[in-house]
Amino acid sequence: MPALTTNSDGKNTGSPADVPALRVVNLRKRYANITAVDDVSFTVSRGEIVGLLGPNGAGKTTTINMILGVLEPSGGRVAIDEIDIARNRALALKRANFAAVYAQLPGNLTVSENLRFFGLLYSIPGLRARVEELLEEFDLVRLRHTKCGLLSSGEQTRAALAKALLNKPQLLLLDEPTASLDPSAAQIIRERIKSLASRDRCGILWTSHNMYEVEAVCDRVLFLSHGKVLLEGNPRTLPGEHGSASLEDLFIRVAREPLSHDVGAEL
């Protein structure tokens, strides 16, 4: 993993095509006696969908929170579009966005009010037109005046994704975006997100416990356990490479494996 090389503004001067959407270098988070994230390094390229997998408590959400700047790492660095978030938080976060089941849009504002509110937070130029575009794209036009708290799970997910795309992010973080959706709604959302990566060259970091979904969507996966990256590779070939019948079997083995330094090698 190459070290970050940035100028005084925390911005890499390399060509945009070479610049990864996300670079995480030796990231650590320690609380008193617990190490939640332990020396994690990875990149997400433009147009790539990377799955961050692991059992509950593996450190996935902690990693995402550090990438979003709402949790200070104990060590290591995070760069979005090669802008160091610790040095230039606002500029880095202008190029990222997220949607998570545990961070729903305020339920007491309507869909369009929420999009305008967040659009201003991200200083979106031509906000009115951008909001209309997203309402159309996510089939929210008829719900524009409905309070988000009154939407169904699927509609709330679509509204959260519309908010997450307001700033046309270089990096999109999705923490279990389809967790509360029925299979049909989940499939529609997956297709939309896949087209985002291919059409807009957006780098996507995706967490999910649905291995079928991960196999269908992700170009690459990282298995996290006890705060460490144990495995990394193509979700369609990785199970075979490690003697597992499916990604789900591999997940279960990783989740139940006691942590040791060479656990990745054993698998």
Binding site: Y31, G69, E72, Y102, P106, G107, F117, L121, Y122
Partner: protein, 267 residues
């Protein structure tokens, strides 16, 4: 500081007020009840005292100014609590919004909401109880500014306490003005208080304001020294409150409190 994110914070509060008359009603009704209650008390005191002393400016004027200060504080705190209640911290602070922009948005919101309360109080106090509020001229504006700054200080400090100790600690916030009012000497001269209470009062800008206002009403020369002292204490305390809030925010980012706040908000 970028103006668009500040406008976003203010716009969110405007949306909430526009869509909910129950949020607007208390801004006017509580202060109106205070003015009516104290208006009749002063009328009664004027008839029974026999001293010829007019209680309207001292008592009703005092109530009006103290309520103004309290409303400013409530304006900041309530705008902040709207984000606590709707579990919106993760969405807010994972955006490019800076903490200074957020506070600026809360303060502007408070100015709008408390002006509404001030207008209601002035209409009632001057129209029904013949309070000659503007007869004091420019010094009144100067003293109002000191109360305004102190109200902002209390609001920021109270919001910091809630951020540090969790949503349930909002119950520490509401009684704050009542706790301070005996020391602020709203209705009586500072000399009425015992020595230890006078010592505490010297740390409270409203004590200088009310002492100064009484001097003006009694026809004594303009109390420039009191105004200067009150302004100095108010400015120092405002800076301390902003510093305190910044420290609490950094602590919340370091310890993961900010990231966990959404989950705790639901508890």
């Amino acid at each position: 500081m970028n103006l668009r994110p500040i406008a976003g914070v203010v716009l969110r509060q405007i949306y909430l007020l526009r869509g909910s008359p129950v949020r607007v009603a208390p801004m006017v009704s509580w202060v109106a009840i205070d003015i009516v209650l104290w208006g009749f008390i002063t009328r009664y005191l004027n008839t029974v005292s026999g001293s010829g002393h007019d209680f309207v400016p001292t008592l009703l004027g005092g109530v009006l100014l103290w309520d103004f200060c309290t409303r400013i504080m409530m304006g900041v705190s309530t705008a902040f609590l709207e984000d606590v209640w709707s579990r919106n911290f993760l969405n807010l602070f994972a955006s490019p919004l800076s903490i200074s922009e957020y506070i600026a948005g809360l303060v502007i919101t408070s100015v709008m909401t408390s002006c509404l309360g001030l207008l209601a109080m002035l209409l009632l106090a001057t129209g029904v109880f013949h309070l000659q509020f503007f007869s004091l001229g420019l010094p009144l504006v100067a003293f109002l500014m000191v109360l305004f700054v102190f109200g902002i200080t209390l609001g920021i400090f109270g919001s910091g306490i809630v951020l540090r100790h969790g949503p349930a600690s909002e119950w520490l916030l509401w009684p704050l003005p009542a706790l301070l009012s005996p020391f602020a000497a709203v209705f009586y001269p500072l000399s009425t208080l015992p020595q230890w209470m006078q010592a505490v009062a010297h740390g409270l800008p409203p004590a200088y304001v009310f002492e100064g206002m009484r001097a003006l009403l009694e026809g004594r020369p303009f109390p420039g020294a009191l105004l200067l002292q009150g302004t100095a204490v108010a400015v120092v305390e405002l800076l301390l409150a902003v510093y305190f809030y910044g420290r609490v925010y950094r602590h919340a980012v370091r310890t993961g409190l900010l990231a966990r706040y959404s989950a705790e908000g639901a508890a």
